[in-house]
Subunit: 167 residues, 2 copies
């Protein structure tokens, strides 16, 4: 049995797994007659070149709070498109990821606690846990590839891994 605690989400630590969408450390450009600061190109959708996948889609997720310690029983990945999670009320959430190719490297699994206002884009093929929300009725916009219904691989954890409630 293993216990996992949350790291703080920032671009450098998260780089192997994806992009953090928050503008931190970036210089914005002024558009819309000076009324908007644009932090451009924070994430790029990585879509499989197979046109048969169709266009990327946007979903709304309404999540329940997870209970902690949370048993991380399973990881999944999507090989045909990156996946984006955007909290709709500035709420924090937890992103659980692992490096690896055909198999996740369970020993190097990591959990990141977002700061208010941060969103993330997961690299195409990145092993990750299903959405971990901290409050009931938390809402997220999620962007996926057009083939998302057939593009999920899942694998069960080889041992009990428990995620601690962040402080």
């Amino acid at each position: 049995m293993r216990r996992l605690t949350c790291l703080e989400l920032n671009a450098a630590a998260f780089a192997p797994f994806g992009a953090v969408i928050d503008g931190e450390g970036r210089a914005p450009e002024s558009i819309n007659d000076g009324t908007t600061q644009r932090y451009a190109d924070l994430a790029r959708l990585d879509l499989c070149a197979n046109a048969g996948d169709g266009a990327p889609l946007i979903h709304l997720y309404v999540a329940s709070a997870r209970r902690f310690p949370l048993r991380l029983a399973r990881l999944e990945r999507h090989r045909r498109a990156s996946q984006v999670f955007i909290p709709l009320n500035g709420q924090r959430f937890i992103i659980v990821v692992a490096p690896g190719g055909p198999l996740p490297d369970w020993e190097r699994m990591q959990a990141f606690l977002s700061k208010p206002g941060q969103a993330v884009s997961l690299h195409r093929g990145c092993w990750h846990h299903g959405l971990v929300a901290l409050n009931d009725s938390d809402r997220f916009a999620v962007i996926e590839g057009g083939a998302y219904r057939t593009d999920t691989e899942e694998l069960d954890a080889p041992e009990d891994i428990l995620l601690e409630l962040p402080e």
Copy 2:
């Protein structure tokens, strides 16, 4: 001189211009071991088939409050990709759009006031005004086509059109 007031944003009224991302009137499906309700496929990114455009990009916009009555001096459109505006703190905002092809139909320009939690996707090529935020420091995630820096047509309004402050 003409004055424009805001309509309530809903899927039916907005259909000629794009999609409303809010799950209203949709049946969700249960995923993530029952901890997430997914309202799937609320909007589809419509991307030009020209691979030279590159992948779609995600920006962060930080906007200032507009002052009302707001002079709607100019509309723009992007012919190579749809464009998505996602408020990051559940805030309301105003979407100004007009039907039309090579030229906007200025007489049929409309303004929609979103409800808290609603996001929108504008159809590829839809004439629209730059982002109209209601509060200082309002944050939005914006998704655009990879060619967004060269994919904007702008046209000046042929008369003074003033948008009233919504009640």
